[in-house]
C-alpha cells in the first residue's frame, strides 16, 4: 500500500483528513442532529436532573462540543496541508484507492481511539447516556473497527494494477 515515502505521506494525509471529516460527521449527525454523544454528557447530564440544571448542562456540553469541532477543524487543516505537500511532489503517485482507503482508515482509527479513551478509560461521555450505555459504546467501537478494516482493504493495490500516466504527474488509480 504505501512502501515508498510518497505513498506513506499520502496515506498519512488521508488518515488525518479522515479524522477531520469523520469528526464532522460525528459532530453534525450525533452531537447536533440526534443530540447524543455530547462531550461531557456523563458529567453534565441533560436528563434525570432539574430542568434549570439540565438547561445549563446542555449549554456546557454545547461549549465542549464546540471545542471538539475546533480540534476536528484543526485536523482537517493539518490533513489538507499534508495532502497539499504530497500533491506538490511531481513524482508522487496520487492513488484514489489509497486516498479513499486512508480516509476511512483514519475515521475508523479515530473512532476506536476516541471510544477507548473517552467512553471506556476516562468515561467523560457515552454514545447514549443511561444505564445501558455499554452496547452503544461497543457498537461505536465496532463501527471504528469496520471502517478501519474496510479502509485498509480499499487501500490495498489490486494484483497487476498499473498506474495511469498524466502529463506532469505520475498517477496510480
Amino acid at each position: 500500500m504505501a512502501k515508498t515515502r510518497d505513498d506513506r505521506s499520502l496515506f498519512a494525509a488521508g488518515m488525518v483528513l479522515g479524522v477531520g471529516l469523520g469528526g464532522f460527521v460525528d459532530g453534525i449527525v450525533f452531537h447536533q442532529l440526534l443530540q447524543v454523544h455530547n462531550m461531557l454528557s456523563a458529567r453534565y447530564p441533560k436528563t434525570g436532573v432539574d430542568p434549570a440544571i439540565a438547561l445549563a448542562n446542555v449549554e456546557i456540553n454545547m461549549f465542549w462540543d464546540g471545542m471538539f469541532h475546533a480540534f476536528t477543524w484543526i485536523m482537517t487543516v493539518v490533513g489538507l496541508v499534508l495532502l497539499w505537500n504530497v500533491a506538490q511532489r511531481q513524482r508522487a503517485p496520487l492513488s484514489t484507492r489509497l486516498f479513499v482507503g486512508s480516509l476511512l482508515t483514519g475515521w475508523g482509527a479515530f473512532n476506536l481511539v476516541e471510544g477507548i479513551i473517552d467512553h471506556h478509560l476516562i468515561g467523560i461521555h457515552h454514545v447514549i447516556e443511561g444505564p445501558n450505555h455499554l452496547p452503544w459504546d461497543l457498537a461505536f467501537l465496532g463501527s471504528g473497527i469496520v471502517l478501519l478494516i474496510v479502509g485498509w482493504l480499499i487501500a490495498q493495490p489490486r494484483r497487476g494494477e498499473a498506474g495511469l500516466e498524466m502529463p506532469g504527474r505520475a498517477v496510480a488509480r
Binding site: 500500500m1 504505501a2 512502501k3 515508498t4 515515502r5 510518497d6 505513498d7 506513506r8 505521506s9 496515506f11 498519512a12 488518515m15 488525518v16 479524522v19 462531550m39 461531557l40 453534565y44 434549570a52 440544571i53 438547561l55 445549563a56 448542562n57 446542555v58 449549554e59 456546557i60 461549549f63 465542549w64 471545542m67 471538539f68 480540534f71 484543526i74 485536523m75 513524482r91 508522487a92 503517485p93 492513488s95 484507492r97 489509497l98 483514519g106 482509527a109 479515530f110 481511539v113 476516541e114 479513551i117 473517552d118 476516562i122 467523560i124 490495498q156 493495490p157 494494477e161 498499473a162 498506474g163 495511469l164 500516466e165 506532469g168 505520475a170 496510480a172
Partner: protein
C-alpha cells in the same frame, strides 16, 4: 474598553439585546448563564486534555505509520513520465 470604536459599541449592544432572551448562554448575565460559565470553568484543563487526548494519540499513530514502522506495504507502481 472605553476607547472602543462606535461600530464595536453597536456590536456589543446588539449582542446583549439578542442574547437577553437566551438567558443560558455562556455570555449571558443571568443565573443560568453564571451556572454555565462556572460549569465550563470547572476542571477546564482536565476536560480540554480529555477531549484533546484522542487527537494527540491519533497523530502519534499517524506519525508511526508515516515513519514506516511497523507496516510494510506493497508498492503501487508509479510510472515514470513519458519524456524521461
Amino acid at each position: 474598553m472605553l476607547a472602543m470604536r462606535p461600530w464595536l459599541w453597536l456590536y456589543v449592544i446588539a449582542t446583549l439585546l439578542i442574547a437577553s432572551p437566551a438567558v443560558a448562554c455562556p455570555l449571558c448575565a443571568s443565573p443560568t448563564g453564571q451556572q454555565v460559565r462556572a460549569g465550563i470553568a470547572t476542571d477546564f484543563g482536565y476536560h480540554l486534555a480529555a477531549i484533546g487526548l484522542p487527537f494527540v494519540v491519533f497523530l502519534l499513530i499517524v506519525y508511526v505509520i508515516h515513519s514506516g514502522w511497523p507496516l510494510k506495504f506493497r508498492r503501487i507502481s508509479a510510472p515514470s513520465r513519458s519524456w524521461e
